[in-house]
């Protein structure tokens, strides 16, 4: 089976999921992102790497934050950006995903940033676009959200440079989370020796241990001596029903409070992909506390997305090009 994300020379062609990407590519993206962090601090926050290219944000599912950061990333690379919210209305008019994509290709889009509620949607689109068009998965169902996984790695690397010596806990709704899947693959690929997931059994997928993680149901045991705590968002619709009895009970058992965080290493950092449910999965004092790196995640997210777009657009050595603009 060919890896649909790489071209014949092993270079990145699409970014669809972390799974299947070699460590070399992940590190290349993270290293390239380093060179873009500085761009935002300049007076002219732009580099011309994507000048003349059209990036199309194709969002079949609502999102504000991810769409905005992709837009900013593309604009800082001097691309023309179109953002489309293809919500249920145009789908219910009978237009298929491929019709929408084909129309945009006819308008000469060069790159698609795709979000969709179905797992596999980005793979599906990538399979059908012509060779010169690149697809970035901005979240497909429960499957993958690779740029989120990468920006989390970038953030961890900033604070804990030696990934080979880390203990990381991912806490919350792993079952429904594309972020969790991307984080797990990124962490294991980059050589983090111990990845834990902490959740009640109702929020863990079948055979999750086969992804290479240690499973904990007791948050206190799971957080013991970890270096990094990665919180997951709990969707509103999961809070009352057969998955969980109530948000209150969830907060009591799996919400991150300072007390629980104190079980981790004293210098442990806390990540969250946002948007947060304060008082459900995380206490405000932790979210805004000194160990939180939640806002730096957002900042780094733009650099990481710039790096991915630049690499896909074919800059042979985008890092040095970005530097030469300084």
């Amino acid at each position: 089976m060919n890896n649909p994300q790489l071209d014949a020379d092993g270079r990145l062609r699409h970014l669809l999921s972390i799974e299947g990407l070699p460590k070399r590519i992940l590190n290349q993206i993270l290293d390239t992102a380093e060179s873009f962090v500085g761009v935002a601090e300049r007076e002219v926050k732009k580099v011309p790497l994507l000048r003349g290219k059209t990036v199309c944000n194709l969002f079949f599912e609502n999102s504000t934050r991810t769409r905005t950061t992709f837009e900013i990333a593309a604009k800082r690379l001097s691309a023309d950006v179109i953002s489309l919210n293809v919500n249920t209305s145009s789908q219910s008019k009978g237009e298929t995903i491929l019709d929408t994509v084909d129309n945009l290709i006819a308008m000469h889009a060069d790159m698609f940033v795709v979000r969709h509620s179905q797992s596999g949607a980005a793979h599906f689109i990538a399979k059908h676009v012509p060779d010169h068009i690149h697809v970035i998965n901005a979240g497909d169902g429960r499957h993958s959200h690779p740029t989120q996984g990468l920006l989390d790695m970038f953030t961890i690397r900033k604070y804990k440079p030696d990934l080979h010596n880390l203990r990381v806990a991912i806490v919350g709704d792993v079952l429904h989370s594309r972020v969790a899947r991307s984080e797990i693959h990124a962490l294991t690929t980059l050589g983090v020796p111990e990845v834990r997931v902490i959740a009640p059994k109702t929020l863990l997928p079948a055979q999750v241990e086969k992804l290479g993680v240690h499973v904990f149901h007791d948050m206190k045991a799971g957080l013991k001596d970890v270096d990094v705590v990665m919180m997951l968002r709990l969707q509103n619709e999961r809070m009352n029903g057969a998955m969980l009895p109530s948000a209150q009970e969830y907060f009591k058992t799996y919400g991150l409070t300072q007390d629980k965080l104190n079980l981790a290493k004293p210098d442990a950092i806390v990540l969250h992909p946002g948007p947060m449910n304060r008082g459900v999965e995380i206490d405000s004092s932790v979210a805004d506390g000194s160990q939180s790196v939640i806002l730096p995640q957002v900042t780094y997210g733009i650099a990481v997305r710039m790096a991915v777009m630049a690499m896909l657009a074919g800059g042979q050595n985008p890092g040095s090009q970005a530097g030469s603009q300084a």
Partner: protein
Amino acid sequence: MKIQIKNGHVIDPKNNIDSQLDVFIAAGKIVALGKAPEGFIASQTIDASNLTVCPGLVDLSARLREPGDEYKATLISELQAAVAGGVTSLACPPDTDPVLDEPGLVEMLKHRAKQLNLAHVYPLGALTRQLQGKVLSEMGELREAGCVGFSQANIAITDTQVLWRAMEYAATFGFTLFLHAEEPFLAKDGVAHDGEVASRLGLKGIPSAAEALALAGILRIAKETGARIHISRLSTAEGVDMIREAKKHGVNITCDVSANHLHLTEHDIGFFDANCHLKPPLRTQRDKDALGAGLKDGTIDAICSDHTPVDDDAKLAPFAEAEVGATGLELLLALTLKWANQEKLSLAKAIALISQSSAKILGITAGDLSVNANADICIFDANEYWEIVPSALKSQGKNTPFNGLEIAGRVKTTLVNGQVVYQSE
């Protein structure tokens, strides 16, 4: 019309024939094997040198999509596919539009199929009206119209009381119920086996327990009511064990497995291959092995194609949104032979699983080459390799997980009622 099939290797599991013999056909019937009847002068001779001659295949589950879903497939396209695959009799599930719960619909389907003069069509009537699982259909009337059994297709009866009554009523008249064992609440919105692959790909899973739970209910009620039950498309190792136990205890039950499930597992989904979106879902290697073992020891009685043609557009969607099903009629023989070959099973044993056994389950006279039987015959080359190319299939449904596979076993000639209805180019 008198036909002589010459020099072929004849396999007829029912009559224990496995040798080189000539077959003599007159007036649509088999009149002799081996020696020509006195005065027999063939008006047509078919040279079957180096070929196998066996009973026309009998498929326990092939969707024809008529009435109602003609954009997916038509009676003519699918019956041409059937004979191209050596299938001369097939049972079709009632989930058409409208569903087969009216004797008139069944009569019309039978009539139209008969006029086409290709494979024989044996409809399974809807067990409950509209397949809604609430009110029993007019089983007696449907039987008279030509239904050989009753089925809910893929739709479960959630009300256990109704299931019980349906079995009691069917048992009263000796009707066979064809049931698919899947507990609907556990399977809700599921699109893949609830295991490693679904977890990795973020697909909603259907646990193996969904099959076991439904099966436990069906077996228990079958034991109570004495109804004759056939379980369609078993998919789990646990299911095989349960059927084995039930048979040991004298429950009146048979079951089948689809050819897809003998060859594929959850891992074949790969990067979201929608051709592997099937019902029941593809399960684990362990399940696949257990299904094979069940077939070998007789726990599983037959192999079906689970032919479910889907139009191309319906598969052009992300995995979960892509319609369930794969084309199968033209692959049934080759996939069965491939499995039998891997398991070192004789050709005769393999053929029995897709002819004699299925005919017995359906209660129809077919699937053998007895003298005076209808001359429904499949002639194939067991050693000829061919590539599965979707566009070359006769079926209107071109979707198959076996796209591009090189496989042995090619149908050369198919006869129905003593007439050649298919001849390979």
